[in-house]
């Protein structure tokens, strides 16, 4: 066929109907862009127009995951916490109301760790006692959940025996009544065993095991979650294809999407946050569009924001440069990271600094509520700061 001629003919067409045409090619791409004509001038004047809301309907959605069993379900938590269930992108309320708000889980460690000053001032009294630490997070800082990170079990740190780590988990479960998350040390050889034993000890409480990943024996972790009725966190490292692969393996083992969260890794603001942001955004859009591999709520280790030098350093290392008050700068670093990821689709935030959490939660309450507003024009009248 004379393509040139066909294109020329089609160039002026607005619409094309093909009748009695056999297409022999394996793949035929028809690119139909008609050149728009310049618009005619409109009559000068004000006309009341109406803005049509640009609604989209998504065929897919995100699973709802419940954390924590109360006495009704055979556990000892005071209440359950829910995440997920989205039908549209986060806070697109003109389109649909998503059922649950983002949740913050405070990080607690089973041994004292190095912390930046704006964080440390809140915890220095309790760092020797994880149960007290957890209690402080809930009672004083309003933690929705608590993560107990069993980092001392790492053979290169303290090599705490599994039996002792299990005791720590039990103490935390005693000390707080919110749902909890149990984290390993990140040591791929030891974590499966630590998490198995911890899962057993927490049977009936519906905790989350953090985590199943491609660099350890994730089957043992996932199986422990299934055997003892827990949620499992599927963790990968800034690679959406790895995340899909791991999720498929886990689903293949029988893990249900109501029992799983996905965590593609959080890079700090200024040090790759955009990767986490875009992967989460892509994952959430894919889930809404129907990608069954990704229809789980998303989790973030937001505390990683403190790895940025602008967050933890007292002052700029560059001579003559100032970064401003660290007690404000650091918390903002973590809070801005959390907010950005919440907008991208993240549901659960593992955070540390109470100031950051308060800033983040204030934004969430605005983004999910309907507070009164004063006229927007007031900013120009000198009202404000």
């Amino acid at each position: 066929m004379d393509i040139e001629r066909l294109l020329k003919v089609l160039g002026d067409a607005e619409e094309l109907e093909l009748e009695n045409v056999d297409i022999l090619a394996e793949e035929l791409e028809l690119v139909m862009t008609s050149v728009p004509r310049p618009q005619l001038p409109v009559r000068v004047g004000y006309k009341d127009l109406s803005f049509e809301k640009p609604l989209e309907e998504f065929p897919g959605g995100v699973s709802v995951v419940r954390f924590g069993n109360t006495s009704q379900d055979g556990g000892t938590r005071s209440h359950s916490v829910f995440v997920g269930g989205e039908k549209t992108m986060p806070f697109y309320r003109f389109e649909a109301e998503n059922p649950y708000n983002p949740v913050v889980a405070f990080d607690v460690f089973d041994m004292p760790i190095g912390l930046a000053k704006p964080v440390k001032i809140h915890y220095q009294e309790v760092m020797e006692d994880p149960a007290e630490w957890a209690k402080l997070c809930v009672d004083k800082y309003g933690a929705d959940m608590v993560t107990i990170h069993l980092i001392s079990t790492d053979p290169t740190i303290k090599d705490t025996p599994v039996s002792e780590a299990v005791k720590t988990v039990e103490e935390v479960l005693q000390a707080v009544k919110v749902p909890i998350i149990i984290g390993g040390s990140g040591n791929p050889d030891k974590d499966p065993e630590v998490l198995e034993k911890a899962a057993e000890a927490a049977e009936g409480e519906r905790v989350m095991l953090n985590s199943a990943s491609l660099n350890l024996d994730y089957k043992r972790v996932a199986k422990a979650a299934m055997d003892y009725g827990h949620v499992v966190l599927s963790w990968t490292q800034l690679d959406i294809n790895d995340q899909k692969t791991l999720n498929r393996h886990l689903f293949g083992m029988g893990v249900q999407k109501e029992d799983m969260l996905i965590d593609p890794t959080t890079a700090a603001l200024g040090y790759g946050l955009e990767y986490s942001f875009s992967i989460m955004e892509r994952m959430r859009l894919a889930a809404l569009k129907g990608d069954k591999d990704l229809q789980c709520p998303i989790a973030s280790g937001t505390t990683n924001a403190w790895g940025a030098r602008e967050a933890w350093m007292k002052e700029s290392p560059v001579e003559g440069e100032t970064w401003g008050d660290r007690m404000k700068r650091g918390p903002l670093w973590e809070a801005v990271s959390a907010l950005s990821l919440a907008l991208a689709g993240c549901d659960m935030f593992m955070m540390m600094c109470p100031t950051s959490v308060a800033l983040f939660k204030e934004m969430i309450s605005q983004l999910t509520g309907d507070p009164d507003m004063r006229p927007a024009s007031t900013w120009l009248m000198g009202v404000g700061q």
Partner: protein, 447 residues
């Protein structure tokens, strides 16, 4: 959604491959147009209504508006809703506000702040783009005097802000730098639009929490022949849900080829009553499509997270995540110079490299192939362990490059030091956890 490919455009080019545009072929020219590196007018054979039609066809989903003559600021011009769909083109411009009731000292201090602001971050210079001048006095003469003072002190672009057309007119009579006019409303569109026509300035349409009214104002301005229009749907620092939903709705209709509301969006975190909230609202707006922000707080603890987030979100996502692994040199190292190591995650590498460069050190840097992951992540994920580090040492034959057998690994990789020492036979020094500490570390630990 409007997303042209080179082929869509090629069909409408002369197809003679004459090369006069500077590209070898018309197809190459079409690709460069899509990449926005050349202009349609570079081809001398495109003329008249055909050219106009092609300009319209290739124009971005969100119109690009430019204000300021001396230091032009481009806002809008985006083609996608989400950055991963392609990339964003014009980063959110940031203006700092001043008002005509400020003392001269405060006014000029803030203007100087914007003018001189420069912050280097990972090889990029981050700046502020504009000064927004508020007509708090509501007095045209006072406003004009203030605008004049500001214009005399800075080459940065200006935004003149008043709901009184008389004030905007007074400002324009003393400033010929094509400032952005803020704002035309349902009641003032004709007067403000007239000023925009007369002085050839871009203009902001404003309606408070009413997108139908906003669209009507834009349409009225367009009916006068104005094209360079930005929109402010009204910022409510106490109800940012309204704000962000309106931003999303506006940006989504732009992607649906609406040719009234395809305007750049203005956000005003300066309306917040405290700096911490202001930073959070600015972050929200940068993440959700704002093209221009008016910001108030000038303390670095507040500005730094905002410009850093902007740098992140506006990074081209098509840029590779990793750099090539291997041995790099900095300065003019000798056989005795220190050997440092890091990962091939682009951000980690550039951070370390800029720290070494800025301190003027002579050193070697061994870049491990960690599959594009940072130090902490690759140690956690096993992409960096003692065996892989040893392999890199051997593969690069660094033993022939330096006379010592000492390697400094990142503090975050401390976990692998013992094993690496055992299997490689090299002395392994655990360096600082943050590469900004390298000069001090070398001072203390490297003879």
């Amino acid at each position: 959604m409007k997303r042209l490919g080179p082929l869509d455009l090629y069909r409408h080019l002369p197809k003679t491959n004459c090369g006069e545009c500077g590209e070898k072929t018309c197809m190459a020219f079409a690709s460069q147009i899509i990449e926005r590196t050349v202009k349609l007018t570079d081809c001398p054979y495109l003329k008249g209504s055909h050219l106009e039609a092609l300009i319209k066809m290739t124009s971005p989903a969100v119109r690009q508006v430019v204000f300021g003559k001396k230091s032009p600021v481009k806002i809008g011009g985006e083609d996608v809703l989400y950055r991963h769909e392609l990339t964003y083109f014009n980063e959110t411009a940031i203006a700092i506000d001043v008002d005509d009731r400020m003392t001269d000292d405060e006014l000029l201090e803030r203007v100087a702040y914007v003018t001189n602001f420069s912050h280097e971050r990972i090889g990029q210079e981050l700046t502020l783009q504009a000064v927004a001048i508020k007509n708090v006095s509501q007095d045209p003469a006072v406003f004009a005097e203030c605008v004049q003072k500001v214009a005399a002190k800075t080459d940065k672009a200006l935004i003149v802000c008043s709901f009184l057309p008389e004030s905007l007119e007074a400002a324009l009579s003393v400033c010929d730098d094509n400032p952005l006019l803020y704002a035309a409303t349902k009641d003032t569109w004709e007067q403000v639009g007239g000023l925009a026509m007369k002085y050839d300035c871009p203009v902001v349409a404003f309606a408070d929490n009413n997108l139908s009214e906003l669209k009507s104002v834009v349409h009225a301005l367009q009916s006068m022949g104005l094209k360079d229009i930005a929109v402010d749907p009204g910022i409510h620092p106490e109800n940012l849900s309204a704000t962000v939903n309106e931003f999303v709705e506006i940006r989504r209709v732009s992607m649906n080829e609406d040719d009234t509301m395809n305007c750049p969006i203005i956000g005003i975190p300066a309306a917040c009553t405290n700096p911490m909230e202001e930073v959070m609202s600015a972050a929200l707006m940068i993440d959700r499509f704002a093209d221009l922000l008016i910001f108030h707080t000038t303390d670095m603890y507040a500005v730094l997270p905002v410009i850093t987030l902007r740098q992140n979100i506006y990074t081209d996502p098509r840029r590779p995540v990793s750099v090539d692994a291997g041995l790099r040199t900095f300065g003019t190292p000798t056989k005795e110079s220190p050997l440092l190591a890091t990962t091939n995650f682009a951000l980690t590498y550039y951070t370390v490299a800029s720290d070494i460069e800025s301190s003027g050190l002579n050193a070697y840097l061994l870049v491990f192939d960690t599959e594009g992951l940072g130090v902490e992540a690759s140690v956690a994920g096993g992409q960096l362990d003692a065996y892989k580090a040893k392999e890199a040492i051997e593969k690069t034959q660094v033993k022939d490059v330096v006379s010592h057998k000492k390697i400094i690994i990142p503090g975050m990789a401390a976990r692998i030091s013992g094993e690496l020492e055992q299997i490689s036979g090299w002395e392994v020094l655990v360096g600082p956890r943050d590469s900004s500490g390298i000069p001090e570390f070398l001072n203390k630990r490297w003879n």
